[in-house]
Subunit: 437 residues, 2 copies
């Protein structure tokens, strides 16, 4: 816990590939990064404590805006050798034009966004990209909004635009939107001319705490989610927390499901912080949001640096997702939000962990409790039968040679395993406990 | 020249990333490879010399089948760190079942081939994959034949099959066919579940000397060739030279255009060998073919190890291709074979090099001569106008920030440059010299 109770961001860098590293020391190199601007000072300020209801002395400090300079931001670095990149987190970052511009190398930019986000933020982003840069031309492609358009046909519209406007290898693709836009734009950038520069500007909480970080990109196939894609890392991720002000409540809660996940799989202290600060998050307290985003990105960045291609550790980020994906596919894409399905899936994974005797029942209760507080579903929709779960889970990407491996909690809060070595009976029992048929 | 005049394959390994390395010493590590079988002994045998018309004492030795063991093969290694892989070259290698099997890691295989190649070799390949392996299941997807099907719609058929047969992350995709199948299957393997194992079994000379090596994969867009794809390396490339026995003459000649290319850009000695042995190649002399394939793969492997992502050096493999791609697109995909377009494009690039004063006229004549011997076209089709060339060349992948860079010969035979720094007048003159309008 040393790193989180000190007054400045930790700058210790652990060697990459140390599989047992747990905390976020690895990624906090704000002090060294040549790219940082106005790095946030982290301190326990009385006013924040009160406002955010942070009572326990073991709770990590809240963020406070740096008093110098105009805006504040914090930088989390994703450590991937020569493909490393910074995540900028802060309020008003879209007005820091220099931030984006330093990551655009060529003269041509293609912004990929959708019909909902374009009217809200496209002009702002175009301005940020072109301000003082007469040589930079920005094109945009505005896709229809929704998970059901996350497919190859819609992706082709991005290629059409890129080719018709004669973008070359030095161009930069910018994803402006939630996880759907980020995943599609990332895959388009990976495949266009076999790979061009790419920047993420995530505008949902889901995308800010999860999908924009780590390089997983792709589209859905009618028979399953994210089955076609690439590992492709962006040049940077720019998170302007102000964009969350326009986000619907349900979407905000969806992102919180992934925040809860980080606590459960590897960061008990963060989970405890969330238990105390859920109300602040739901009421969009900027400091609480910024802290939750930063800590989530740190957790994800560390996991990704240790296991970019998901040979093991990275799979733990899929807690609740095997059940959740089955719900999304079975119920029909877009019926439930991703985080909603993950929330119900998480409760199922936790239930199964308990049936296996791997965790005690207080954890089960705390998980149920925090997700209910966030107004997230804790059971699958009625139409999900045991059979439906079983057949849909069989096409999960984590099946290897016919064996379904799952992420399950084991031990004290903050510990999990990714394993195919569990009693099938427990899985059956969980499915029967949660399904009507 | 030290490496090619010795009697055994060179085993010197130069450090990666030495940009000025020229010969193929880097890749010839047959003696060290744990994967080799019956490595070929290379020796200058009198009988071969006579038969193949190798007269000059400076000419490299011909291959000779190893007398021990049942079959002979040679191995060229592509050195890409932890993504290195072997290229097996030899006659009858599809009957060496162990060769393929050692590179299949999971229990599921998907063979991607087409309607022409399937009746010829699919059974043989399925047998090679399953012989003595009751646990391995092989599915196949047979695509329509032709460059015009190298598109996203056809690619989706591969994903459909893979998903319907529930292939998982440990499965292996096998490309059985020419460059079209190799490029598509490779991209499908790169994108399916964000990347699965992949093996190349190239069955055209074009694919054996060029497209199966180096990891460039992809599909065409209606507005341009290979605009969507990935860099993705196979587990191995298996070249059974016997498959060339069923290849039409025109296809054989098309592959020879790429063989000539290696000589021109970096291997003068190989070019001289070709001048003397073109007749043997055209009459499909197995030793001549095996030697030309091996030497081509060595050249390509070395370039690729030094510059996998084409930041510079690798672009030189595109000699004649900027003009050639314009011909392919302008004339319509499939009118001319790739190598035919490249042959005409090479003559144009050489002509332009001469106009710039970068090479002397004997090189121009020798290039014309060798391509005519191979019965390849040396001028673009009549319908290609100066205007058509200019507008199509503007969308070439080698355009960066609006500047068209070209591969041009410069200096003695075997030397080239990749540059945007040339007199535009020479390009104009070449276009006018080769186009009727
Ligand atoms: N790549 C990864 O590692 C990863 C991880 C998690 C999730 N995902 C993917 O992310 C997707 C879900 O992402 P999501 O939850 O962001 O969904 P989303 O992209 O569909 O966005 C949700 C909705 O919010 C709208 N929106 C976005 N920003 C807004 C804003 N600032 N104000 C108002 N409305 C806004 C969108 O237009 C959309 O209607 C799924 O496809 C999932 O597979 C990927
Ligand atoms: N990836 C790369 O680095 C790279 C390099 C060069 C070319 N290419 C691509 O390769 C493609 C051209 O490859 P190609 O010339 O092999 O064309 P191709 O794949 O279309 O094959 C040519 C023809 O020969 C047939 N054929 C294949 N093997 C045969 C056999 N053994 N016997 C009889 N018929 C056989 C095919 O069915 C086809 O009709 C182009 O799409 C080009 O863009 C890629
Ligand atoms: Zn998720
Ligand atoms: Zn070629």
């Amino acid at each position: 816990m040393a790193s989180s109770s000190s007054l400045v961001q930790p700058s210790v860098r652990l060697p990459s590939k140390t599989p047992s590293v747990r905390r976020f020391a690895l990624v906090g190199r704000t002090n060294q990064s040549p790219l940082r601007l106005n790095p946030i000072r982290i301190s326990v300020s009385a006013s924040h404590r009160t406002r955010l209801d942070v009572q326990a002395s073991s709770a990590p400090p809240m963020m406070e805006e740096a008093t110098s300079g105009s805006r504040s931001s914090t930088v989390v670095d994703v450590d991937l050798g020569n493909r490393s990149y910074p995540i900028y987190i802060g309020s008003g970052l879209l007005d820091e034009h220099d931030l984006l511009q330093r990551h655009v190398s060529g003269k041509q930019v293609l912004v990929v966004t959708n019909t909902t986000v374009a009217p809200l933020y496209l002009d702002k982003v175009i301005k940020a990209l072109t301000d003082g840069k007469p040589n930079v031309t920005v094109e945009s492609v505005i896709l229809p909004d929704g998970e059901k358009y996350k497919d190859m046909d819609t992706l082709m519209k991005v290629f059409d635009k890129a080719i018709k406007t004669r973008l070359d290898r030095k161009c930069t693709f910018v994803a402006l939107g939630g996880g759907v836009i980020g995943d599609m734009c990332g895959f388009a950038a990976a495949a266009f001319l076999r790979g061009v520069n790419f920047i993420q500007i995530p505008t949902t909480l889901m995308a800010q705490v999860d999908s924009s970080v780590g390089g997983k990109t792709g589209v859905n196939h009618p028979l399953g989610k994210n089955l076609i894609g690439a590992f492709y890392q962006p040049q940077c991720v720019l998170i302007d927390t102000d964009t969350l002000n326009t986000l619907p409540d349900r979407e905000l809660a969806s992102g919180i499901a992934e925040v809860v996940k980080y606590g459960l799989i590897r960061d008990a202290e963060f989970f405890e912080w969330q238990e105390k600060n859920m109300q602040a998050l739901l009421s969009r307290d900027p400091s609480a949001l910024a802290y939750a985003i930063k800590r989530s990105c740190e957790n994800k960045a560390e996991v990704v640096s240790l296991d970019e291609k998901e040979s093991g550790l990275r799979a733990t980020l899929n807690l609740g997702h095997t059940f959740g994906h089955a719900i999304e596919t079975g119920f029909g894409y877009g019926q439930w939000l991703h985080g909603e399905a993950v929330a119900a899936g998480t409760v199922m994974a936790v239930d199964m962990s308990y049936r296996l005797g791997w965790i005690d029942d207080t954890i089960v209760k705390r998980v149920l409790n925090i997700l209910q507080k966030a107004k997230l579903p804790t059971t699958p929709p009625d139409m999900m039968t045991v059979e439906k779960f079983e057949s849909l889970m069989a096409v999960d990407k984590k099946v290897a040679d016919g064996l379904l491996r799952l992420i399950l909690l084991k031990g004290p809060l903050g510990n999990c395993v990714f394993t195919g070595d569990y009693d099938r009976k427990a899985l059956k029992e969980t499915l029967h406990a949660f399904c009507k048929f």
